[in-house]
């Protein structure tokens, strides 16, 4: 029983990070109807940023979120303005290919700059854990989860309480109507992509202490982000939050009981089942 609770709790903790990448993806999709296949590569950029902030300047990986998020916001805004903006009216397939290309460029530039070596960011608390009765939870994962909760809450507040947040949600609900109401939908696209990238960057910073850092690490995060978003419902932010935690738990529990080699198989099988049985996701409106 303790093993089950242990793996469920670990799953919830790591699920927070999947939720962050998923929320970024779903925000971009909601506002622009573009599926960003480079989401995981943005996580990778965030990981490298955090790694170098730590190894060169000694910035704690969890503090570095304060730097990586604005920097990644800028990167995202530039990518949107220079590339994504031009294909907003193109075929969905071409949009997907463009973002796949962006991802390839990011990961291969990282390989040129940093080689394909695996890097490890080890802090003084990297391998420590907090005892909780018969259960032990890893300290970096707890920090990671707490910061995730703060970021997600801040994002909700921004989207629900501020005028700009209202404009973002209006654009996601109905682009034309939002435009008629005086919302600058082009700027909303830049904002959404910037926010999506910032969330990916935050996720990268938060997992940097617990993951290997290498140029192709993004692929796995991209796929997880899709699973999370499809599970929760495309375009639904609450759905993505829920989806992230569910996928984290599914992965952790199946890893415990079937062996770590099979945990991703379980995740993808769940993904296919959701696509086939409830393609709108748990909380999404059908957009098929």
């Amino acid at each position: 029983m303790a093993v089950l609770i242990q793996s469920i709790l670990s799953g919830v903790l790591i699920g927070g990070v999947y939720a962050l990448t998923g929320i970024g993806l779903t925000l971009i999709f909601g506002v622009m109807r573009v599926i960003n296949f480079a989401q995981g590569e943005l996580v990778m950029v965030g990981m490298y940023g955090t790694f170098f902030l730590f190894s060169l300047l000694g910035v704690d990986p969890f503090l570095s979120v304060v730097v990586t998020m604005p920097a990644m916001f800028l990167l995202g805004a530039v990518l949107q303005r220079s590339l994504i903006n031009r294909v907003l009216d193109a075929l969905p397939q071409n949009q997907i290919l463009l973002t796949i290309g962006m991802g390839l460029v990011l990961s291969n530039v990282a390989m040129l700059a940093f080689t394909s070596d695996y890097r490890i960011l080890s802090t003084s608390y990297s391998s420590s854990s907090v005892p909780l009765g018969p259960i032990r939870l890893s300290t970096p994962l707890i920090y990671c989860f707490l910061i995730t909760v703060v970021i997600t809450a801040a994002l909700y507040w921004f989207l629900v309480k501020t005028d700009v947040g209202h404009a973002v949600r209006a654009t996601a609900q109905d682009r034309d109507a939002a435009q008629l109401m005086g919302v600058n939908v082009r700027n909303m696209g830049v904002l959404a992509f910037g926010l999506g990238s910032a969330l990916a960057g935050a996720a990268g910073a938060l997992v940097a202490p617990t993951y290997y850092i290498y140029p192709q690490v993004g692929g796995a995060f991209t796929l997880k982000a899709f699973v999370v978003v499809v599970l929760g419902g495309m375009g639904s932010i609450i759905g993505a939050t829920l989806g992230g935690v569910l996928i984290g738990v599914a992965e952790s529990v199946s890893g415990t009981y079937f062996g770590s080699g099979w945990k991703d198989v379980c995740v993808y099988v769940i993904f296919l089942l959701v696509l086939l049985l409830k393609p709108a996701g748990l909380l999404g409106k059908s957009r098929m």
Binding site: I35, L83, R86, V87, A90, L91, P92, Q93, N94, I96, L97, L98, I100, G101, M102, G103, L104, V105, L106, S107, N108, V109, M111, L112, T115, S116, G219, L223, F226, V227, V230, G261, W262, D264, V265, Y268, V269, F271, L272, L275, L276, P279, M288
Partner: protein, 321 residues
């Protein structure tokens, strides 16, 4: 059409003469790579180009074909040119099963499902160690000599036999595209690509014809994939089932011109030449070329080289008239 047919036959015949004049293994290697990329691009084109179903999981069929032939060679000592057909058959069966389930999905959802399927199959290959040898992969060090009625044809010790096999493979895949495009099946597929709902309301059974395209596409991919794997002589899950393999197939068609028979040939030419030119300076990061190319092509000429050229040609004709 007749003229293009004559040009193609002459081009293939000229290519067949190449090994008589060029002995440099490196030059032959480039030709073989080119044939492989053409064959794979043409294979993807049947489903992605004609039917408009953008699969980014075609590495699944590539890998199943390759693993089928490699496992039979290693464990049962079956010669590749027989084993390959088992690989192709397995790939087609799995593809049809997957297609039956995933073809109800559209657009981005289909793309995502195709990636997930390839990823599941990659993880199976990684974890099913008794059959696939897991991450260590399988080595096909020496192939049995190819004999026909007692006479030795080749012992596979030079690049030349691979050159002819590759050429044959590429010509075969181009021919399949040519036949499919002009057939009833081809017209149905193009109708589905242009407007799925309109095609459906005209009474075209969508899933059936998409599956027909997938079956043919998967068979060609498995065939070309196992040839490519034997040329390299080694397979492991990431190398054959990785998303790079699928992306390369998509790119070949995007660059050349999606849904055209000649597109993948031009796409392969650009890809192979650029990759080889930059291989030394980029080393492991050779996929950078793919990334930059796809971004540029989508932004500058989304119709690909063939689409771009024919548009120019039409405009010039219109200007002259």
């Amino acid at each position: 059409m007749k003229r293009t047919f004559v040009i193609s036959v002459v081009a293939a015949a000229l290519l067949a003469l190449v090994p008589l004049f060029i002995q440099s293994p490196y030059a032959l290697h480039i030709f073989i790579l080119f044939f492989i990329v053409v064959a794979l691009g043409e294979s993807w084109n049947i489903l992605g180009g004609f039917a408009g179903q953008y699969s980014v999981g075609h590495s699944a069929w590539y890998g199943i074909g390759a693993y089928g032939a490699f496992i039979l060679l290693q464990q049962k000592n079956v010669a590749p040119w027989f084993g390959v057909w088992v690989g192709v058959a397995v790939a087609v069966i799995v593809a049809l099963a997957v297609g039956w389930i995933t073809f109800r999905l559209r657009g981005p959802y289909f793309v995502l499902a195709s990636i997930a399927v390839a990823e599941i199959i990659r993880l199976l290959a990684l974890n099913w160690k008794d059959l696939t040898n897991g991450a260590e992969g399988i080595l096909a060090s020496d192939l049995p000599p190819l004999k026909l009625g007692g006479t030795m044809i080749t012992d596979w010790n030079s690049k030349t036999p691979y050159f002819y096999m590759g050429l044959l493979m590429a010509v075969f895949c181009i021919a399949v595209n040519y036949v499919v495009k002009g057939s009833k099946l081809g017209y149905y597929l193009q109708a589905i690509r242009e407007d799925q709902d309109a095609a459906h309301s005209l009474g075209i059974p969508l899933t059936l014809y998409k599956n027909a395209a997938l079956g043919i596409s998967a068979a060609c991919t498995a065939l070309a994939g196992s040839f490519a794997a034997f040329y390299v002589g080694f397979i492991e899950p990431q190398g054959v089932f990785g998303i790079d393999v699928s992306i390369q197939m998509v790119l070949t068609c995007i660059i050349g011109g999606i849904g055209t028979v000649s597109g993948p040939i031009f796409g392969a030419l650009v890809l192979v030449v650029l990759t080889e030119m930059l291989r030394a300076s980029l080393a492991q990061a050779h996929l950078l070329v793919y990334g930059v190319l796809v971004v540029v092509v989508i932004l500058v000429m989304p119709e690909g080289i063939v689409g771009f050229a024919s548009q120019r040609l039409r405009r010039r004709k219109a200007a002259a008239a």
